[in-house]
Amino acid sequence: MGLGAAAVMLPSTLSAVNFRETNKSAFEGPKSHTVDDAMKELYGTSKTTVGKVKLKAPDIAENGAVVPLQVSSDLAGKTVAIFQDANPESLVAVYTVPADGIIDYKLRIKMAKTGTVTAVVQDGTTLFSASKMVKVTAGGCGG
């Protein structure tokens, strides 16, 4: 009962798109393990144009449990997605950029080992991306 009530209540939130529901396969399951596959599940393609996106990340993260990232772009993108290839599943977060939003996001993520972080900004039908290798000296995923 409780669960059903919660499910009914969910659509009444202001959330436009919950990517965990619409693109669940990009977050979990057999197609979520590599950046390429997850990107295909999310956007239908893994072809990206490098550039126009700034990704700030440390060269070396002493603690993989807290890797600070910053993604920014001047593009009028609709969505921003962050991937990495160090964890079992590659998709970290998908932002929906609202009308008044500015693409300048900071967040902290966990990385189990050294890997490459990729930020993708969707502008129309084109995907712009930036990647950065982060060297992790102590894993943060409790593995």
């Binding site: 202001l14 959330s15 919950n18 977060a93 932002y95 939003g101 500015i102 996001y105 409790g142 593995g143």
Partner: protein, 101 residues
Amino acid sequence: MAKKTRIKAKEKKGITTVKALSKHAMLSYAEAKSQKKEANFITSIVATVDDKVVYEVSTSQFLSKDPFMQFKFKGANKGKTLVFTWTDLKGTKRTDKAKIK
């Protein structure tokens, strides 16, 4: 579990910068297994001002524990209230408010 999110919202030259620090264990599946706990993490966050969405993100298990987020948006004035809501895997919701300064 659901503790207050610390929020700071500042408006400058029409651009509001928000820093938010949520309290959440963010247990990924691998971590939960090794600690013999149930995985649970924030799956979506929405922030609004005057019922207008200014920030929206679907997140995964790989955000750090007690996730920190910073974002910017245009078009809000000082004194308005920012409403910040997260939902986790178990359906727990937590809404916190902060005045834009």
